[in-house]
Symmetry: D2
Subunit: 288 residues, 4 copies
């Protein structure tokens, strides 16, 4: 089997390297070829367009930042859709709107009825991507899933099949919804403790000792105290996911006051902090 | 040293038992004597009033549900204040408003200048109380703290001295503020996933696998799925603490949208769910 | 000129009658013919499908409850689009999502390039519709606007041309966003005053005497006190518009905490109150 | 009858002048004598302390910015309480916390049982204060109210007696709660319309044409568009009143998501905008 991998950003870079580590025959494509250097050195073949990747691969994986980026890869004369034909499997691992995922599915089937499609968003950011310990949520053609499991396992520690599209997108959004609010819980607590005059380190210590202590509080709490906002999980991606959660809540009539409040807080500091880490929400709350 | 213990509710019951386990000479008092049965059997002496407890003990600990309950114990002809005299140590372990704690301190010093006072709210609910693994936050007279540490260690796994009153109250509130929002994060995620039609157990599984997985999510998530809302940490106590956090935010001008949102959500279901567990916030969000 | 009018609900009923009052030659269509009785009596011709209406009219106006209803009228073998041809003007007066309005515009141009399209959502509910005192916000082909102004004036007291689609949709949404929050302001004030034990009528009186007194507070305040929730402006329509406002805020990165909060409150009581008046938000806030 | 008037700020200045216009014999006191110039010219007698004002007046009115200011006037060797004796009437017209108002009542009765007390917060800001068209809400000793009505009528267009303390404080808070949210409705609408690219003036025009059009929207909307934030009703006073409303909601268990959201928004910009007009909430929402 030949695998195509499109999108070598923070996440995709490591995911593709993990495939190469397992001696997968890999075609890669990225908007800037520069980022494919290491992959080429390790045996990947760089192709000039998404269309070429589709033509020359059995399975094509996409790992891009948002729907726009996915749409740029899919459409146009050199787009992935143009390269379809036969029994190819397309796997979108980018987090995109559920509706858009459902539409992609239709588009692919119309273009090439024998093609198969999976949405497979991942849980975990830079470090799990590097270490191959992502959690991969998959939905779509069951057949495609069975054929892809081996490759998923090279990139993740757990792979779950959820059924029809867009159930994986839904679960990814809910996961990040909970993460975003939980992140906000820490940020609000630290904001209050600072203005009240408590020692940040003691608060950090207590928060990380109780029943709700968790690895994210340990990592992000430390980063906030150290004033370190280098993007691990970018602020703008968190806001995008929270926006999806807000829309879903509206669509399914679910009362979600915390989701709305945290999304608004991310919006508040969006222009200033969008390229920093999601824990910069601390700065947004403090109107910095 | 003779220790007095007032308040044998969910928490106080186990805390007093842990003192007895360590062969502490214990005077106890509770509004209903019934609840002191086991303590008496294990050697505690039941006294007829808070005043008596104050008179006959060197250190008096209070573990009550709120300021009102504390005030009922302190004031009146049979109240604790009436029994002061000499170098007694009063330790309030109930979670109360910071302002009220500061006022208590003054009241005690006026009544008996040689008395010492500590506020020592605890982190942890029923099970840590039982197992002696509470986290105890102390503030007030340093001397009193040094004399009480041995006893705190019988009830808790960690004891921290924070300085002046009401710094321990502040930290307790911030801890519960973060806990309340984090609890709300889970509740909103589960509400959305249910209406969307995802399998609760898969969501539970994913939430408990990621970077923000924590013991509280494991416990409360399971309880929500099992429709089990028996009070462990009562709903009304969480609402009380969140209300304190909202007031502090107002006083110190801290932008706290999540704290406000979760407090409002607890208020929404207050009349219906106040005596259930704090995870009944799930039901409040669902307008059940 | 022959005018077609599709949708004879609460609003459309009166709007069409106002056209007839001005001796307009009117073709009408409604899902249930029953509702067209009075219009037929006054000279309107009932046609059997949206397609027929399009074929036999120069200008076709739509006044429906939401995008779904509009889509049902536009599409299908008997749909409005099938009846296009020549220089017809389509005017959608229903409040729909801006994106959907922009898409409608494209669809119509593709089907029939010489057709013209206006979006023309209205401000005002049942009574202004009846009295012909609506405010009509129009955007789209300027030519079409000029040709339609005379008819707009039969239904409204003010008509404003805003430029390109979907600017009228935008303004309609913002108007209702402000209205919804303002409605919520009254509902929260009355909720608090009731629980505090103030006399509703005195609160009503004061609220209607100050700098922010307005006709809506007079009308809806009275209805809340009288426990009268008969739909004038339906609850579900307000929630729909607030949902649009929330989405726009997300898209344009506008911090909108009140919009989110009021939308969530409408969502909270949606299932129970959707067919009552928008002022039933009072009952939702009170968890009734 | 001799009237004492304490507090010659934005509001008190005009209120005292209106008493003088009616030939009332007036004793005045202000922290800085400078502000009493015009009153002295018109016949008022400036006294050196609140105590002197109490001694030499039958009715003493206070119009101060907050509880702290009231407390500074009441307490101390030169404080108002020291000057009590006989059947004096104390009227606090400042907006203060209901609890503090109830406490003031007790303090006065303890100091001088024959004294009477009214709380009489006002609705209306600078211009109604100047024009004598305030709305005056009174609660407390009915006798005192009857004796003071004539003077209230010199300052206000309406005077309402509400019964026991702190019912007037409650109603004042609810009035400003509704005003604050309504102000926020306009601010959020204008924020969204600006980012979307609509013409401010058209939005302003539409908002002021509909069912919720009101004088405040006319005035504040114009000021926002003109970038004019000179304090008429100060931002910090609005935040103070919203904070009271949030606390009352917490105390009486009233679900108040909009009140919380608007209070948080005022808190967000507090340090920057506290001395500007309350309509500077527009700038806070825009993170300016």
């Amino acid at each position: 089997m030949k695998i195509g991998f499109i999108g070598l950003g923070i996440m995709g870079n490591f995911m593709a390297l993990n495939l190469l580590k397992n001696d997968v025959m890999l075609n890669v494509y990225n908007r800037t070829k520069e980022k494919a250097k290491e992959h080429i050195k390790k045996g990947a073949i760089f192709l000039d367009s998404p269309k070429e990747v589709a033509k020359k691969s059995d399975i094509v994986m996409l790992m891009l930042s948002d729907s726009n980026a996915v749409s740029n890869i899919m459409d146009g004369n050199d787009g992935l859709l143009e390269g379809l034909g036969g029994e190819k499997i397309i796997i979108n691992m980018s987090t995109i709107e559920p509706d858009y995922s459902a539409m992609l599915y239709k588009k692919i089937k119309i273009k090439s009825p024998s093609s198969m499609f999976l949405e497979a968003p991942v849980i975990g950011s830079k470090i799990p991507a590097k270490e191959g310990t992502l959690i991969i949520l998959a939905a779509g053609d069951k057949n495609a899933y069975d054929l892809s499991t081996a490759y998923f396992n090279m990139m993740g520690k757990r792979v779950i099949y959820l059924g029809d599209i867009p159930k994986a997108s839904y679960l990814k959004i809910i996961n990040n919804q909970i993460m975003g609010i939980t992140m906000g819980a820490l940020a609000e607590g630290l904001s209050l403790s600072k203005k009240i005059g408590l020692d940040d380190n003691i608060v950090y210590d207590i928060v990380n000792s109780g029943a709700f202590a968790n690895p994210m509080f340990q990592l992000k709490g430390k980063n906030i105290i150290d004033n370190n906002y280098e993007a691990n999980f970018p602020y703008k991606h968190m806001q995008k996911d929270l926006d999806f959660a807000v829309k879903l809540s509206g669509e399914f009539k679910v009362f979600s006051p915390l989701t709305s409040a945290i999304n608004n807080s991310y919006i508040l500091g969006y222009d200033k902090f969008k390229d920093e880490d999601m824990c910069a929400i601390y700065k947004a709350l403090n109107f910095e």
